[in-house]
């Protein structure tokens, strides 16, 4: 994965989040406070505005700057969680201008660990971890099975999708949805959904670039 692909991933995610702003906010209405799409849209627009200043820097710096942009513009839980995801991902690939498959795994692994650290989240709490964790496991397995990057990323995206859908019957144990108790069951988690979109966009960015 090249630096220009990383930059394109972040820009493309901003577009995807804007397109899904209403959808994410609607998912957040029955079990949250109806702002997830609005907040993520504000945050990714801030990232895009910061990218020109770091385009010449390494991938680690690009991701860390993007994470700080989210932390200082999103608020709520989404800001610290996605901000830490990108900052810790950036630390894992500090100084690099190109990422191997192993680097990509390390990047996502560090990001996920950061989310779990500050969210104190377990699997099946009905959070973004329920999309990110199976996705990363699928990516690792695909690489160890000898799949190429694009194939592996597709398997990762499929696992993220399954993970996102699996949040529907879950009882929320973290965040504002947890106050609803049984009433949180039957709703797809907005955070797991935005996580799926982030990974899906990563896959599409790399696939589009390779086929171009």
């Amino acid at each position: 994965m090249t630096k220009s692909q990383v930059l394109e991933w972040l820009r493309a995610t901003a577009v995807v989040i804007e397109e899904n702003r209403q959808y994410l906010t609607d998912l957040d209405s029955p079990i949250g406070d109806a702002d997830h799409g609005i907040n993520m849209d504000r945050g990714f627009k801030k990232i895009v505005s910061k990218l020109p200043g770091v385009e010449e820097k390494d991938i680690g710096t690009v991701l860390k700057t993007s994470g700080m942009a989210l932390i200082t513009s999103v608020g709520g839980a989404g800001g610290p969680l996605y901000g830490t995801f990108l900052m810790d991902a950036g630390k894992a690939v500090a100084g690099k201008d190109e990422l191997s498959d192993d680097d990509l795994v390390a990047l996502l692994d560090a990001g996920l660990k950061g989310v779990i650290r500050i969210g104190k989240t377990n699997l099946e709490d009905k959070t973004m971890v329920d999309a990110l964790h199976p996705a990363l496991e699928a990516l690792k397995k695909a690489f160890s099975d000898g799949k190429d990057t694009v194939e592996a990323l597709h398997l990762m995206t499929d696992a993220a999708y399954e993970g996102m859908k699996a949040t529907i019957p879950m009882l929320a144990r973290k965040g504002r949805a947890s106050y609803l108790g049984e009433r949180s069951i039957g709703h797809q988690d907005p955070g797991a959904t935005s996580s799926y979109l982030l990974l899906k966009t990563l896959t599409e960015t790399i696939e589009a670039d390779q086929s171009a």
């Binding site: 406070d33 702002d35 800001g79 144990r173």
Partner: protein, 357 residues
């Protein structure tokens, strides 16, 4: 959506601009990052108190900044926690050299953002302690949820701790006082209507004309249960008994340990109310109920407290911690002692609460 606003994205900034123009003797407003702070800050040698949270709860928190209460308040977007850079700059602006107490309502986002800000402020050499407010008795278990939410007791803690800071109490004692208020205060709220986040443009949830939500927080979110609409007396009884009969509540919270230099987990227990207790009774308008209604709730609350042997020694009635234009109310009871009564009565001069000066 019908609201007295210009553009939805300008609501928070334009409100702050209005406050700055209207109350220059009480507050100043800093933009980018946004925070409201005491007109006379920093007050040298005095502990500063910083709070904050999503907007939409006015007058909390910006309207509770001033002499005898908060030193600064950081408003986020509507119902969205503010960001760490806001709390950091507010903390640095109001620190008078005696340290800063962060009063944080227990919501996942608020807790994360305030923790980050406190860590950053300590790196700048400022002494910061943080106390969580988690008083919502509608949340029954702490193990399988994010724990009790911070609601009505927040307003009382800000008033009482602000008075202590004004009297020159040191940081550790103000923090201990805040923890004491939190464990002795309990609340429960209900909604007759939903509310509309300006950026969302439509009500957060649908609530039919003849139904209500019990056990809500303050973010327009649905409550624990939905039921058929009842009379004011029946609603008051449900909320009051939910508070008064709530058993001891035990949970683990994270607090900064200045001696160890790290965040530590502390077990706190809220003792239940018992006959003979003196209490402060707070009936809060969620924002959209007519001002004629809260006294009707108070009337019944007073009767129930008497029946239960609780002596109301102070009260507060009105819209202090709101959920935009939501119709409904919350009841908070805080067990009082002579120290708390004295601090409650101390002079305060903020936009939303003012007496004695």
């Amino acid at each position: 959506m019908k609201k007295l606003i210009n553009k939805p994205e300008d609501v928070v900034r334009e409100e702050l601009e209005g406050l700055a123009l209207a109350y220059p003797d009480i507050v100043k407003v800093h933009f980018e990052p946004d925070f409201v702070y005491r007109a006379d800050a920093p007050v040298k040698g005095q502990v500063a108190i910083v709070s904050g949270g999503g907007s939409g709860h006015e007058p909390m928190h910006g309207g509770l900044v001033g002499v005898g209460m908060l030193s600064a308040a950081c408003p986020g977007q509507v119902f969205t926690s503010p960001t760490p850079d806001q709390m950091l700059e507010a903390t640095m602006m109001v620190d008078g050299g005696a340290g800063v107490l962060h009063i944080v309502k227990n919501y996942t986002g608020d807790v994360m953002n305030f923790e980050m800000a406190a860590d950053m402020a300590r790196e700048e050499g400022i002494k910061v302690l943080s106390i969580l407010i988690d008083d919502d008795a509608a949340v029954k278990d702490s193990l399988w949820t994010a724990g009790r939410r911070g609601v009505g007791t927040t307003v009382l803690a800000e008033k009482i701790c602000g008075a202590a800071a004004e009297k020159g109490w040191p940081l550790e004692k103000v923090a201990d006082l805040c923890r004491k208020v939190n464990i002795n205060g309990r609340s429960m709220g209900m909604a007759l209507t939903s509310c509309t986040v300006p950026m969302a443009g439509k009500p957060t949830f649908d609530l039919p004309e003849d139904e209500m939500e019990i056990g809500i927080g303050i973010h327009g979110e649905p409550g624990r249960t939905r039921m058929k609409l009842k009379t004011a007396d029946e609603i008051t009884e449900m909320l009051a008994l939910g508070v008064i009969e709530d058993p001891a509540y035990t949970r683990i919270v994270r607090e900064w340990d200045d001696g160890q230099g790290e965040w530590v987990e502390v077990e706190l227990v809220d003792p239940p109310f018992k006959a003979g207790d003196k209490v402060l009774a707070f009936v809060n308008n969620m924002g959209g109920s007519a001002a004629i209604e809260p006294p009707i709730i108070y009337r019944k609350l007073h009767e129930i407290c008497e029946k239960k042997g609780l002596k109301i020694v102070r009260n507060l009635i009105g819209a202090y911690i709101t959920s935009l234009e939501m119709q409904g109310c919350s009841i908070t009871l805080l067990k009082m002692d002579d120290e708390l009564i004295k601090l409650w009565d101390a002079p305060v001069k903020t936009i939303g609460m003012r007496w004695g000066m």
